[in-house]
């Protein structure tokens, strides 16, 4: 079985995110990191390999992004992926969710994986949707926000929380599955794995290499135009207390509650 894990480089959570006023896109400069949700997808792939219910021949990390996105791939292989594929092309810049999913699906077609895993959302764009877009292009069944993944009788047995409680779904391979952060505790990479990450095979491909139709990607090919922004209706800022003396803090909370007749 071949597993492809979709990964993404995102701004470090500690860095304040903002929109670049001249391009209308997320400012992705500054400190970057592997999307933390993706580490759960890599861990899920590793646990499948180690679990022994299926023979996992290869785990391939796949990303789309500028040159700098290679760092997310290095992190992914340090966490256990065997090699990585980097789709990078000027023509892809500014792609919306639908265009990005299409481009990733074309890159994945080249690998013909039995299973595509990804994190439930990216830390920056907060979309939960890329898995479903990729799945429809690849004509594979799909489920998102999965918190338990097992192999049973050669198929996936998946659990997730949906609108009315917990659902259990059986999905046959090949499939596209996005995992929630409750699925596992990702391991920390060993120093040896970090040092060795750059030596693992990395393939660079362009949009043309994987047969992407240029009219369907980039800002031009995207069907959603979002270059306008405005501030939301302002909400009065709340009061903040830094707890230094807890007795004093508690007294203030009680007074605040009492004033509003909540006690």
């Amino acid at each position: 079985m071949k597993i492809c894990v979709l990964v993404k480089e995102v701004p470090d959570a500690a860095v304040e995110k903002r929109i670049n006023a001249s391009t209308g896109r997320m400012d992705r400069s500054g400190e970057k990191n592997l999307n933390p949700y993706d580490t759960h997808a890599i861990e899920a792939a590793m646990q499948l390999r180690e679990g022994g219910a299926v023979e996992v021949d290869e785990i391939v990390a796949v990303t789309m992004g500028p040159e700098s996105a290679v760092r997310a791939l290095h992190k992914a292989v340090s966490l256990g992926a065997d090699r990585s594929l980097h789709l990078s092309d000027e023509s892809l810049a500014g792609s919306d969710v639908a265009a990005t999913g299409y481009a990733l699906a074309k890159a994945l077609e080249k690998e013909s994986p039995d299973l595509v895993l990804l994190g439930q959302q990216s830390d920056d764009g907060e979309c939960y949707t890329i898995g479903a877009v990729v799945a429809d292009h690849l004509k594979m069944p799909s489920l998102t926000q999965v918190i338990k993944l097992d192999i049973e009788e050669g198929a996936l047995r998946l659990e997730r929380q949906a609108e009315y409680g917990y659902d259990t779904v059986k999905v046959r391979f090949p499939a596209v599955i996005s995992v929630g952060d409750a699925i596992n505790e990702p391991r920390y990479p060993s120093l040896k794995a970090i040092m060795g990450a750059k030596k693992k095979p990395l393939e660079n491909v362009t949009a043309g290499d994987v047969g992407i139709d240029a009219s369907l990607v980039g800002a031009e090919g995207s069907r959603v135009q979002c270059g306008e922004f405005h501030a939301p209706a302002a909400k009065a800022a709340g009061q903040i207390i830094e707890d230094e003396d807890t007795n004093d803090t508690v007294e203030k909370i009680v007074a605040w509650l009492d004033e509003r007749k909540l006690i």
């Binding site: 069944p141 979002c226 909370i253 009680v254």
Partner: protein, 325 residues
């Protein structure tokens, strides 16, 4: 023609409130661009003519009904693809929730359409619909405009108000042959309730706990505090429910309950959007978190930066003392 098609989720013979809100919103906006609102439902025998016609009360003129598996996205993508191909609706609208995200995204791929999620407002502008989406921790609103034949709008839960305008919808049956890959997924069990059946909706005060409690036992602090108030209950975030620390019935947020108590006291909760959508209409929000950058401080009325293990027990005692005074 500028009709809109709204997906309506149902469970055990009842329609989802967010879907009904999406019909109300879709009907109002469709009227502004010279179109009608149509609903689409996929399921079994519980989708009777009588039940489907009731969607007319929220503004749907037609209800497209297909037989198919419930609780999965891809069957609905197949149905909506067919309905839109045959009837030419210009927009597809979802009331939000996990299935709405999946169906909307799958449909965007199928129809090469643009999609916007977490939409809190839809506006008509020059005969077209535009979607307003809060981004960057709700600090800015991004405006989406659509190109092509179809625009897909996935609402944030509780964004669209439910309005009854009266009327009865025409029910149209859709014959559908599902895609081969759609049939590769099968629902084994749906809607399982995990943990005790606790009632939080009737409480005036909710003390909610999140991952910051550190361990399941941390909920004892929340329960003691709730016990000190009158008519208070304990609620939880998705993360701790998934971890098995607290029952699903007490969960607030996107795949849990929506509440608006007089006081919502959040302990060790960061305030992610998925949680915020379930409690932001609470009358008073108090947050205790040791991370001063936690998003919850952006919308709390009173925020305390500190260690909940130190603060909660003392607060419990102080409230008891105050009531006794």
């Amino acid at each position: 023609m500028s009709d809109v098609l709204i997906y309506v989720l149902h469970y055990e013979g009842a329609f989802n409130k967010n879907s009904l809100g999406a019909i109300s919103e879709g009907a109002a906006r469709a009227a502004e661009i010279g179109g009608e609102a149509h609903a689409v439902v996929v399921g079994g025998a519980d989708l009777t003519d009588e039940l489907c016609k009731t969607l007319g009360a929220y503004g749907a003129k037609k209800v497209f009904r297909a037989k198919g598996p419930e609780g999965l996205a891809q069957p609905v993508v197949d149905v909506m693809d067919k309905v839109i191909s045959e009837n030419g609706q210009s927009y597809a609208i979802f009331g939000g929730g996990l299935l709405g995200f999946e169906i909307g995204a799958g449909l965007a791929a199928r129809k090469q359409a643009g999609v916007t999620m977490e939409v809190t407002e839809i506006k008509a502008d020059g005969g077209k619909l535009v979607a307003h989406r809060p981004i960057l921790g709700d600090s800015q609103i991004s405006v989406s405009r659509y190109q092509g034949d179809l625009g897909i709008i996935i609402g944030r839960i509780n964004a669209f108000e439910l309005r009854q305008s009266g009327g009865e919808a025409e029910v149209v049956d859709v014959e559908i042959e599902y895609s081969a890959f759609t049939n590769q997924a099968e629902m084994i069990s749906r809607g399982e309730q995990r943990g005790a059946d606790v009632d939080i909706e009737g409480a005036d005060i909710l003390v909610a706990g999140g991952r910051g409690l550190g361990k399941a036992e941390g909920f004892e602090l929340c329960e003691q505090l709730a016990g000190a108030f009158n008519n208070a209950a304990v609620a939880a975030t998705r993360a701790v429910v998934d971890a098995g620390w607290y029952p699903y019935a007490a969960q607030i947020g996107q795949t849990g309950k929506t509440v608006s108590p007089k006081l919502y006291l959040a302990a060790g909760i960061s305030g992610a959007i998925q949680h915020k959508v379930g409690m932001q209409s609470s009358e008073n929000i108090v947050a205790i978190n040791k991370d001063k950058n936690a998003p919850i401080f952006e919308f709390a009325d009173l925020g305390i930066v500190g260690d909940l293990n130190k603060i909660l027990p003392k607060l419990t005692e102080a409230i008891k003392a105050k009531k006794g005074a």
